[in-house]
């Protein structure tokens, strides 16, 4: 963070104008390989001496269980589910992300507010309301959008996830019971919405139709450019706690 900025009003009680760490978001639809790339990036960054914190949607202590329970029962409306996700994000932002940035760490987050916005917009929620509620979100240093076509996504989802997921197919709101057809319809709409908000939020598009290796190659260059200034500023929290990473870096 060179300068700390929020999309709306800052997190209540937050007063700093500078945080030494970097917040890097990896966005993209289901099955595009976000978690794989983050795992690779984390190892690579640690090997270069950066302390890394990885986080992702629905990983807060506070709200993750509630979201899972709600999804099992399919009992919550879209607005309530959105507020659950917002609570989850607020909790992680205040308890994980900001403290890590304060300590000079590189924070890699698997999805951020953009997935929430896209999901809500596809389901017809009030786009302005969603943005206002999420105004407490810290503006990241970089947002990498892994962009892949449906033709490339489908084989990955089938081979790696073992099939189409109920929620990833929009079964909660689309008509009909055909999982594959709904998957195609839902993911097509998600991709269109990601595309529609890419400019508004300044996504850096990464062509994710390529191999894992090629995607990682590009991400590594881009992420490297984001984190390199940290070393010059002496703001890096060294990953000293991880001697293996140091050896790997040699």
């Amino acid at each position: 963070m060179t300068q700390v900025r929020f999309y709306g009003d800052p997190v209540p009680g937050f007063t700093e104008s500078y945080l030494p760490g970097k917040l890097i978001v990896v966005e993209g639809t289901d099955g595009v390989g976000r978690s794989t790339q983050i795992a690779l990036l984390q190892e690579w960054l640690e090997g270069r001496g950066f302390a890394v914190a990885a986080t992702g949607l629905r990983r807060s202590d506070l709200a993750s269980k509630g979201i899972d329970r709600a999804k099992q029962g399919h009992t919550l409306s879209e607005a309530v589910l959105f507020l659950f996700y917002a609570t989850d994000l607020a909790d992680r932002l205040e308890k994980q992300i900001i403290p890590a940035l304060r300590a000079g760490m590189v924070v890699l987050t698997d999805r951020y507010i953009y997935s929430m916005i896209v999901r809500a917009q596809v389901r017809g929620s009030d786009a302005q309301w969603i943005r206002k509620v999420l105004g407490f979100a810290l503006i990241p240093d970089a947002i990498f959008y892994l962009e892949a076509d449906l033709q490339h996504l489908i084989p990955r989802v089938l081979s790696e996830q073992g099939g189409f997921d109920y929620w990833e197919s929009g079964m909660d709101y689309l008509k009909g019971r055909n999982l594959f057809r709904n998957y195609v319809r839902y993911q097509t709409r998600l991709l269109a919405q990601f595309d529609a908000i890419a400019e508004e939020f300044g996504f850096r598009r990464i062509d994710a139709n390529r191999s894992i290796r090629e995607i990682f190659g590009e991400l590594r260059r881009e992420v490297g450019a984001v984190v390199t200034p940290m070393k010059k500023q002496g703001a890096v929290a060294r990953a000293d706690a991880n001697p293996l990473a140091e050896i790997a870096a040699e």
Partner: protein
Amino acid sequence: MGSAFRPFDTTVRICYNQPSPKGKVKHMSKALRRVHYPGKLIIVEGIDGSGKSTQLDLLHKWLMSENYLVAFSEWNSSPLVRRITKVGKKKKSLTPLSFSLIHAADFMDRLERQIIPALEAGAIVLADRYVYTAFARDVARGVTPEWVRDVYSNALQPTLPIYFRVPLEESLKRILVGRPELKYYEAGLDLHLAGDPYESFKLFQTRILEQYDSIVEEFGLSVIDATQPLVKQQDQMRALVKPYLDGALKISPRAWRDVLTEESLLGRYLEEIGANKPAENGDDK
């Protein structure tokens, strides 16, 4: 909300993702419209110890005795959401921001599952605390007034919002009698205003009271002086409510009674099915 939130109007919802009659959710730009419900929404507000719940309870019983169809909804009572709130409170892990958001989730859940369906059915819905509680409390905790109003911007405008005004000293006297143990968030201990729970509670309540004062102005809440005798407050409350009862839906909760009289029956087997119990209706407290 601002000017769209006029008091004493028919219940109106600024609606953005209301399903169309066929059940299809439409995009906001097409579906943005005002929806009127046949029911009435009467809500009470006030700080802890203002006696608002007691007064609402008395009103509830009176309306029931008059055979009105009444539904009741209470702040922070949605089962799914309450679990999270409970854990967060127990671990003391809620921040002003997550505290505000999780209560908004609770409100939205109750709005969509209890309040709106009952209003659509034509009931008188009584709510113990409403969005103004969030406006007062969350701002006292440090979120901005604009943001919390945005969060609740799709709430319903109540038919009649009533505020029970009580000086801090009076409410403290009522609550702190017997030195009860104050809970962490209830006392506002998360704000570190004071180490002592009682001192913290006083400072926190002072802040909330200040917020309520401006909310009463901003949204035109009807004010009842909560230092008056209970009976007098209830009289005033009923006087406020009466103009809205015209045409409100009535039920005949014990219609079997007429049959018994006409047919000279004793109702022996009605007792077995529990129909003969003293009148107690849709109260889900």
